[in-house]
């Protein structure tokens, strides 16, 4: 039988004590109550703080549960925060690849565009931040859908003859995304266009969104219509860089 994880038990105990103490508790209070060394309690509190479950008061002496802890079901990362963290890396991806870059996240079964970087050719383009994309017909969408446990789109609308409209086929496609760690799309949303995306993993591996590029098939794919390996590498490196920034200091 697999064992239990001691640090999670302790963290749960800390959370229970904090929930019962409206004025908050200090490290020593918690240590005494649980019979744990101060350094152990400190480590637990720091981690809980980092994941956003506990907060410190102004003096820094007392800890209490965060508001966010009471709303665990809601998205834990503010979309504007995601844009702030992604902006440097998304820019770099656009200038390296020469293509349009978008960051998206799943909202009520659709992919909301959180950030959009123009194709770096100085042509006329319009920002589409705030608009939504169909998750089953875009790489950005598949890259978040693959890791979502609730929001399978109910009806799979066809945008082109290549759009995946069969739920079973979509499930297989998403399994491929999970096993590879990246998603692709080929004329499934708009003819002559293709896209590549990768999930952005926040703390604990939670997928908070995806970053990807899109462009004309002849630039995104090779002559045998396979998505270009160098672009896939760039997209994945971008997702990793954003994830690193997110984990560094939240």
């Amino acid at each position: 039988m697999p064992g239990t994880v001691q640090s999670i038990e302790r963290a749960a105990a800390v959370l229970r004590l904090l929930a019962a103490a409206p004025d908050g508790l200090g490290v020593a209070d918690l240590g005494n109550a649980l019979g744990l060394a101060k350094t152990t309690v400190h480590g637990i509190l720091r981690t809980l703080h980092q994941v956003g479950f506990v907060e410190q008061d102004h003096s820094g002496a007392h800890y209490h549960l965060s508001d966010a802890f009471g709303r665990l079901g809601e998205s834990y990362l503010d979309p504007n925060e995601l844009r702030s963290r992604a902006i440097n890396w998304a820019d770099s991806l656009a200038s390296r690849s020469g293509e349009v870059v978008r960051v998206g996240r799943l909202v009520e079964g659709k992919v909301e565009v959180v950030h959009h970087v123009f194709r770096p050719d100085d042509s006329d383009q319009n920002l589409d931040v705030g608009t939504t994309l169909p998750p089953h017909a875009t790489a950005l969408g598949k890259a978040v859908l693959a890791y979502d446990t609730s929001a399978r789109p109910r009806s799979l609308e066809a945008y082109t003859t290549r759009t995946i409209t069969d739920p079973v086929q979509l499930s297989e496609e998403l399994a491929t995304v999970r096993s590879r760690g990246w998603a692709t799309e080929l004329e499934e949303h708009t003819v002559e266009l293709a896209s590549i995306a990768a999930p952005i993993r926040g703390l604990g591996g939670l997928v908070v969104g995806a970053v990807g590029l899109a462009g004309r098939i002849e630039r995104i794919c090779d002559s045998r219509l396979r998505h270009r390996g160098d672009l896939v590498t760039m997209v994945r490196a971008t997702a990793d860089a954003i994830a690193r920034d997110l984990r560094d200091d939240t």
Binding site: N80, R83, P120
Partner: protein, 506 residues
């Protein structure tokens, strides 16, 4: 051959970062560390310069490590910095004498009023291009020398060195107290002290006398782009190819190399700079005359500058002072819970008002408060304050230059805020354009350093790296714009004359 990079060191008000750029001007890695903001009294703002140097010494190797590069792949270091922040240190021990006094600090309020005397704040504007305010370094140096017992004598004996942050960093990069450390500054930073003659680009005896600053403490003034020295610390053997103030670096990073080109950088404060070529333009509308950059032994380029002291720092105050949000970016989410400002206006005259008003006695107000106002409205008002301040500056700049701005190039951390960028476009009634690199301050420092060591051949090559990453188009109804601006201006009036001279400490 392994890829080569230029390292930009951006020593800012809140943090120090090191960013590596490749030959195409693309950001390849970033490492950043915040330092403490010390507020010993109301109106005082200080930094611990040793902490800052320690942070710089950590972020540079961290940025290189991030991409698994070797230090030898760095061909040059470009330094850029928060401007006007002033430090004195002991030449022999290398230890700072007290903390660095930060550009936002208003302790020299009374001193500045006294110095202005009957002749007024523009007393030295002919010589240095700047009005007398608490913002610039010279009054601060005088304050430090006057308030530390025995310091003036030591300074006159040559035992004390003065520097803004780039001077402190270069001195430490080149060995600090133990060796042949370089005590140098560049023309852009020197142009913010009030001690440099804006035409000769040399320390001016009249100014030194007026501010009672001994020449012995001052660094040598150098061009912004040119090899300052070879580092012996942190990246031994790598040349320091540039130093320039952060706002001038951003102008350079936006490749505004010709007269008439302008940019506005939205960070802690926000700063609109208009390149005026080799001409020294004197503002009649509250803009500063400042050096834009100097490349090697070429003639210097100048700029008109509109400085807004409190923009991103108002968001920080909303987060840390009021606890309304957890991260700066969340302000956009909160602001979008309402459709407009509900009639509320926040004028953030925390350190008095900078351009175009230059009122050190002003203090902030929240105007138009009613029971209707929610957190969401205040969040809007915080963001809109940055928009209105920009409009005031653009109006003044247009009046000075006689030509209307046709588009605004923006950069800096606040450009991640779409609501603000749209509001700016609406209010200014011109397109607002963000380039591919928002860390334009660092990019400019990298460009200037890379030019100095031949990594990039010329300015034209750099221009071709500039690309549009995003653009916001104006949509606001002109009548609404006029009403909003009038409300703002009425709110500004209410900040004036808050600090009365008799309130000030000696």
């Amino acid at each position: 051959m392994a890829e080569q990079y230029v390292a930009a060191v951006d020593q800012g008000t809140n943090s120090s970062r090191c960013i590596l750029f490749d030959r195409r001007g693309r950001l390849v890695s970033v490492a950043q560390r915040e330092h403490r903001q010390l507020f010993p009294r109301p109106g005082w703002v200080e930094h611990d310069a040793e902490e800052i140097w320690r942070n710089v010494a950590r972020v540079v190797p961290a940025a290189i490590r991030q991409i698994g590069a070797a230090p030898s792949q760095v061909v040059a270091i470009g330094i850029t910095n928060q401007r006007e922040t002033s430090l004195l240190w002991d030449r022999r021990t290398g230890r700072p004498i007290g903390h660095a006094v930060v550009w936002q600090d208003t302790r020299t309020d009374r001193l500045v009023t006294e110095l202005a005397g009957d002749e007024g704040a523009d007393r030295f504007a002919d010589l240095c291009g700047l009005p007398l305010t608490t913002y610039f370094s010279a009054p601060r140096i005088k304050w430090m020398l006057d308030h530390t017992p025995g310091l003036r004598q030591r300074a006159e004996r040559g035992e004390v060195l003065f520097g803004t942050m780039e001077t402190w960093l270069i001195w430490n990069f080149t060995g600090g107290p133990n060796s042949q450390a370089q005590h140098v500054t560049d023309v852009t930073n020197a142009s913010r002290t009030m001690l440099m003659n804006i035409e000769t680009l040399e320390w001016d005896d009249k100014l030194l006398e007026a501010f009672d600053v001994p020449r012995a403490i001052l660094p040598e003034i150098r061009p912004s782009s040119g090899v300052f020295a070879t580092a012996t610390e942190v990246l031994p053997g790598v040349r320091i190819g540039a130093a320039l103030g952060d706002q001038q670096a951003a102008l350079f990073g936006q490749t505004c190399f010709s007269a008439g080109e302008a940019k506005c950088t939205y960070g802690t404060g926000s700063f609109l700079l208009l390149h005026t070529g080799q001409e020294i333009v004197r503002s009649k509308h509250g803009m500063l005359t400042t050096v834009a950059y100097q490349i090697g032994d070429q003639p210097a380029s100048y700029a008109l500058e509109g400085s807004m002291a409190v923009t991103g720092s108002l968001v920080q105050w909303f987060r840390d002072g009021l606890g309304m949000i957890h991260t700066a970016a969340e302000i956009e989410t909160l602001a979008r819970t309402v459709d407009d400002n509900g009639g509320a206006y926040i004028v953030p005259a925390f350190s008095g008002l900078f351009a175009p008003h230059w009122r050190s006695e002003a203090r902030g107000v929240i105007a138009g408060l009613t029971g209707y106002i929610t957190k969401g409205h205040l969040a809007r008002a915080v963001l809109e304050a940055t928009g209105f301040q920009t409009l005031e500056v653009v109006d003044a700049m247009n009046a000075d230059s006689g030509i209307a701005l046709t588009a605004l190039k923006v950069d800096g951390g606040m450009t991640a805020n779409n609501l603000l960028m749209q509001f700016l476009a609406d209010l200014l009634d011109v397109p607002v354009v963000r380039p591919m690199v928002t860390e334009t301050v660092s990019l400019g420092a990298a460009y200037a350093a890379g030019l100095a060591v031949g990594y990039w051949p010329d300015l034209e090559g750099l221009r071709s790296n500039w690309h549009r990453a995003g653009q916001w188009m104006p949509h606001m109804d002109p009548a609404r714009r006029a009403t909003e601006y009038a409300n703002w201006q009425a709110a500004v009036q209410r900040t004036f004359n808050w600090i009365r001279t008799e309130d000030q400490e000696p």
